[in-house]
Amino acid sequence: MALSIIESCVNCYACEPLCPSDAISMGERHFRIDAKACTECDGDYADPQCASICPIEGAILDASGQAINPPGSLTGIPPHRLDAVEAEIRAR
């Protein structure tokens, strides 16, 4: 059981000091979670700390590979709206 950080991480450092297992470190391109050390904060906190402060939707996955913070859950921007606006900007 371990969480993971993927390449959409923006390297903001917010998660790193919060990890009770010291499982998070700066990788080559983005922060990483050491799967052997990660406990998903079980026994320390009710919620996994990294996923509770991460500002980037989709950057942290649970053990099954699902985004803990899915699109729209943190910014409040409905995903279809974001897609439409991005398409409009590309078309300019």
Binding site: V10, N11, C12, Y13, A14, P17, L18, Y45, A46, D47, Q49, S52, I53, P55, I56, L74, T75, G76, I77, R81, L82, V85, E88, I89
Partner: protein, 497 residues
């Protein structure tokens, strides 16, 4: 006749300072105790007058944040954008202190170092305080500041006091959690992400507690508020009253910046920012209760230089690594430069004596006058080189500062190159739009082509006041306009359009 500019019955709003000197006719700082005036005397972000002379820098050491704001996108880093929360390169405390010493040595008028992000300084306490500790040791002649959302302020108050950080800015957008829920989707608190009004309530409580604790400890507090039309615009007058009562000494109401391409909630959802007039009206409304800041440039979290400029590109880490800095020699040089600035300020203050007389007969309409300057409080920038205009309003009661307006491109393409063909029209159109409410523009020099376009648009250009201090120039220009019997602009109607 005694002029009562600050009096209750005066029609002129009382906020803001005059152009040249805060010791002059509409002195917004006059009521402050001496020790406070002394503290802000050379702080460009706290004193309108000081910002003509002294520079600041921000170091981007604080990437993490503990809240989300709807006007911020945490994915954003960019070399060209100029707004808060945006940086080019993140620095370690060691790199940051190197950069500070290099900048302080190259730009001796730099008096203030701030940590303002790109996240929240107090969500990165180790990095922020380690940076400050290094500066305190090596460069005791630099003032330290930080700018925070306030969530973690109470827990770090002792460290802030211990490091002698004597200026703190708190961004307070509301005191009502219901309004807060429309601005802050979540805060990270007590090991949990707390959403909506519940999160906003925690943030508001921490901000207010933090403000009180800072004031109790004698630390100067400026409050920033982002004006978001339809969300908190009607609420900010109340915020202003409350923070003033609690002892904040300056309130800075800033316009929301929201563009779809920034990828922020407000940008994507089409939330508009306020018009110049809406902003100015709200600042005037708050001014009855509070010192208002009107010279803020909403700078980047890695900005370097005078407020109107950003010299960050001259001080990338790559360039800094190659610089040799002898800071004790630099400190002596800095002290000499500061003495020179103070002598200049004294001369200027004497040149603009507080006026006992009206600038014009009562009932003469006010005129807004744009000024171009490179700093030092004088008219020393050519029209064609200006990338921003300082807007002043002259009225029979005196001169007051309205705000700074940026334009994307200066009229001239290069130092001596004027634009050609279509570009010329486009750039001038943008300048005329920025000066929509102005009756005159006062520059060190104005070229022939823009001169005639300005005149045709009802903006009288002038190069007569080159090297004069700004207040003298604005007073003089106002007199000229009156003599010419200028067509006064109805400022409220004009602006609403």
């Amino acid at each position: 006749m005694e002029l009562k500019v600050i009096a209750q019955d005066s029609p002129a709003p009382t906020g803001g300072c005059t152009s040249g000197a805060c010791g002059s006719s509409t002195d917004a700082m006059a009521h402050l105790p001496d020790h406070v005036r002394k503290k802000v005397h050379n702080h460009p972000c706290y004193s309108e007058e000081a910002h003509h002379h002294y520079a600041r820098m921000h170091v981007a050491v604080a990437p993490a944040c503990n809240i989300q704001c709807h006007y911020c996108n945490r994915k954003y880093d960019c070399a060209n954008e100029s707004r808060p929360g945006v940086v080019s390169e993140l620095l370690t405390p060691e790199q940051a202190s190197k950069k500070v010493l290099a900048v302080a040595s190259a730009i001796p008028q730099m008096t203030v170092l701030g940590v303002a992000g790109p996240g929240d300084p107090l969500a990165n306490p180790q990095r922020t305080f380690e940076t400050f500790r290094r500066i305190v040791d090596k460069a005791p002649d630099i003032k330290l500041c930080l700018s925070t959302n306030g969530l973690a302020l109470p827990e770090h108050i002792d460290e802030i006091v211990a490091l002698n950080v004597d200026h703190v800015t708190i961004t307070i957008n509301c005191v009502d959690p219901k309004i807060g829920a429309q601005i802050y989707p979540w805060v990270f608190w007590n090991h949990k992400r707390v959403m909506g009004a519940k999160g906003a309530k925690i943030l508001i409580k921490q901000q207010q507690r933090g403000l009180e604790m800072l004031v109790e400890r004698g630390i100067l507090v400026k409050v920033n508020s982002v004006m978001i039309p339809g969300v908190n615009d009607r609420h900010l007058e109340e915020v202003s009253k409350i923070v003033k009562t609690k002892g904040a000494f300056l309130h800075n109401v800033m316009p929301l910046i929201a563009e779809a391409e920034h990828g922020t909630f407000y940008g994507v959802m089409g939330q508009r920012g306020p018009t110049k007039q809406e902003l100015s009206d709200l600042q005037d409304a708050c001014a009855g209760d509070m010192n208002m800041m009107r010279h803020c440039r909403q700078c980047r979290a890695d900005a370097v230089g005078l407020l109107g400029e950003d010299r960050g590109q001259e001080f990338t880490m790559e360039k800094i690594e190659a610089m040799e800095v002898d800071y004790s020699a630099a400190m002596e040089r800095r002290a000499r430069v500061h003495e020179g600035i103070e002598a200049h300020r004294k001369t200027m203050a004497q040149a603009v004596q507080p006026t006992k007389e009206m600038l014009a007969p009562i009932g003469t309409p006010p005129a807004r006058i744009a000024v171009t300057t490179k700093g030092s409080g004088v008219v020393n920038e050519h029209f064609g080189h200006a990338k921003e205009f300082l807007i002043y309003e002259a009225s029979p009661e005196g001169v007051r500062f309205i705000g700074a307006r940026k334009i994307a491109n200066a009229y001239c393409v290069g130092p001596d190159v004027c634009p050609s063909g279509d570009d010329k029209g486009t750039v001038l159109d943008a300048i005329l739009a920025a000066l929509f409410d102005c009756s005159a523009v006062v520059s060190a020099k104005v070229g022939i082509e823009p001169w005639s376009r300005l005149e045709a648009a009802g903006v009288t250009p002038s190069g007569t006041y080159a090297m004069d201090d700004i207040e003298t120039a604005v007073r003089g220009m106002y007199g000229e306009l009156i003599e010419q019997g200028w067509a006064a602009k109805d400022l409220s109607v004009q602006a609403a359009g």
